[in-house]
Symmetry: C2
Subunit: 421 residues, 2 copies
């Protein structure tokens, strides 16, 4: 048996919120931390030095995407993902479980879309759309049809770990099935049995193959699923603790759902997220680093950190940048309702010589005006994407830094009020 | 009358080749120099700091494009083009003459295309294609139909200078009509009369309006046209010298043409270019800085510098970067035949851990492998464009630096042999 390392140290607490340090084979990470997503061996539009300047400490890579392109065996041959993309900081890789969902149940259940759409639990068959899905779950693993060329691939738990070990990831995630709120309880129970099996198979493969892998000091995180059911979530948390992982990632599609009482009809209904954290976190060992998968609105950071979460990842900052949305601080008009973003294409910015977010210390705000960025965006200039992404990543990593400082000073609630009112 | 300043100093000569220093309102430029093209207030994919790191001393902006988008009045309001795009080095702006050609005669005459196509001088009517042209030349100016929204614009010589003065350009070009080898002699003569008239009108407007413009220390370059006729080219050179400009730009479409005896059927047939330089340069005052418009193959730099040219601009390095072509030195396989580029998508580079151009000191070659750049290119990653463009711009500015050093050492011919064999 591989010995589970204690890599996480809690430095200070403010209520349940923790400021910590996570050791990895590629350096220490100060938590709470936000991890920008680098799907295809690149955080879109940014070079590694941009990432560092923007304050990124650790990035996330996607197993499914890298396995298909450029191929994890190639990345291994080139010395691992760090060397391939020239990023010498830590990397966490997901397991492919999210893509199994996004190319499968998410499409079938239309979880992503349609504000106000009614959701009938236990009746998922009624609302399954007749679309060709690119993933199918079996007990053996996930059957993928490549979104690139239609080729077929079976991602077993063993294969997912093999890919992640080939990439040389610092933090490896077990393969899991992500459930949607539209999965009925019977399906959920069956799925969780499978997720347990996959977790054990993942761990066994990891333990047996780590020593001779690209990054022999990698660590393994377990995943807690369980959707909308308190009892199931609590049991899942305890089960994951019992298996012995270096950390835990918490998953779930918190889709549009009456069941959750979510007033805000968005794919990531806040109340569902926070309630899930309330159920899961108290049942995880305090010392474990805790990661919530794919969550990234400003208010989520506060609400989840308050509940004991240490790590976040989300495509929102980078994707929004590409779509013309820049984060702004409360003093510049950012609030929960506008998701703390302004749209750069608004006509009022035509001749606005101010930086995007006055007071921001990022490279883009220090050097360019709203007027210029609007011009670049509307002209389709490539430079736009880098400047916008630098700002958004800086903004979120900087906010995380503020949250950490507030925890150290026991003033998290004050900071939260300042941001969320 | 505005006093014409002597801004150009020749430091050393090697044959007709000169190493010089050109003073501008935004600093000195060491010549021979290559100017990357920043069409829409951005050298595509690069921020100003990237440009500096890549060795760019001066960039070129396009009057027609900036006039349409974001609009030269807006740029003026934002403090001029330097401030708008945060580039504090010199800027040369073209006059719109090239776009009058590229949206008009170039399409009509199909000059750009068709290797081996027969060209019938004096019979241009026969080969005019029935396409809707977006520019039309009249004595008053160029009638443009915007390629963006179809709106109509009249670019007179006065308007072209007004736009350039609003932009705050350091080196302003007079409005000219670019001729193609398919224009008959009668048309050429009529056109050159008009170009003289436009040159004088440009100069008059410039002289009368410079003092109160965005950049009161700007300078004005005249343009020599005249296509394929030695006597006309010689007369044009003398005419331009007589008008009193701070410098001279030499223009011409050196298209596919039997007349020129060009063996290489390319839009910029080398022999035609070099012959034109032989005709024009000796008839220009030595002290004037000399710029050839839109030329940029490696061999052209050597051939034109040898003939007394000081300044170059071309979209080739930046456009080729976006299309997957990277410049490489002779020691790495670059030669005239392959235009000194390799195509990054070649399968052999899949697992090639070497930099694009071993020995190159650019940011991209110092940090990334062929394998990684190939992956970024084939995956459509935005980062690719920046890394490729940095390399190509660095490569060409570095080559220019080598050429300058060779002139100082009186070893230009040796350097030329090393590059062109």
């Amino acid at each position: 048996m591989r010995k589970i390392m204690v890599n996480f140290k809690i430095i200070a607490k403010d209520g349940k919120a923790r400021a910590g340090v996570l050791k990895t084979a590629h350096g220490e990470v100060k938590t709470p931390v936000f991890m920008p997503v680098g799907t295809q061996a690149s955080v879109k539009a940014l070079a590694p030095d941009d990432l560092k300047t923007a304050g990124a400490q650790i990035i996330l890579g996607n197993t499914y995407h890298l396995y298909l392109r450029p191929g994890s065996k190639l990345v291994k041959k080139m010395g691992g993902l760090h060397k391939f993309m020239n990023w010498d900081g830590p990397i966490l890789t997901d397991s492919g479980g999210f893509q199994a969902f996004s190319l499968g149940a998410m499409i079938a259940h239309d979880v992503r879309k349609v504000p106000g759409k009614k959701v009938y639990l236990e009746k998922e068959k009624k609302v399954v759309k007749r679309v060709k899905l690119l993933s199918k779950i079996t007990d053996e693993g996930v059957q993928f049809t490549s979104h690139l060329d239609g080729s077929k691939h079976l991602l077993t738990p063993e294969k997912s770990i093999e890919v992640q070990l080939d990439l040389g990831s610092d933090i490896v995630l077990v393969l899991d099935e992500l459930l949607s709120p539209m999965h009925g309880k019977r399906y959920v129970k069956k799925s969780l049995e499978r997720t347990h099996d996959w977790g054990l198979r993942s761990k066994k493969y990891f333990d047996n193959n780590l020593a001779k892998s690209t990054n022999p000091d990698a660590q393994l995180f377990g995943i807690v699923q369980g959707v909308y059911d308190q009892k199931i979530r609590e049991e899942e948390a305890k089960w994951v603790v019992d298996q012995g992982f270096e950390g835990v990632s918490i998953g779930g599609s918190f889709g549009t759902s009456k069941y959750w009482g979510a007033e805000e009809m968005d794919w990531a209904a806040p109340k569902a997220i926070y309630q899930t954290m309330d159920w899961v976190v108290p049942n995880l060992t305090e010392q474990l680093p805790k990661h919530i998968l794919g969550i990234g609105e400003v208010q989520d950071f506060f609400e989840c950190v308050e509940r004991g979460i240490d790590m976040f990842d989300c495509v929102a900052p980078t994707r929004r940048a590409r779509n013309g949305s820049f984060y702004i601080q409360p003093k510049n008009g950012g609030n929960v309702k506008n998701k703390f973003v302004l749209s750069i294409q608004r006509a009022e910015f035509i001749d606005d010589s101010r930086p995007i977010d006055p007071g921001c210390k990022c490279f883009s705000c220090q050097n360019f005006s709203r007027s210029y960025l609007r011009h670049l965006y509307l002209s389709g200039e490539i430079l736009y994407h880098r400047l916008a992404t630098i700002h958004n990543v800086f903004f979120i990593t900087n906010l995380m830094g503020q949250i950490r400082e507030a925890i150290l000073d026991k003033k998290l609630n004050k900071l939260k009020q300042k941001w969320l009112e």
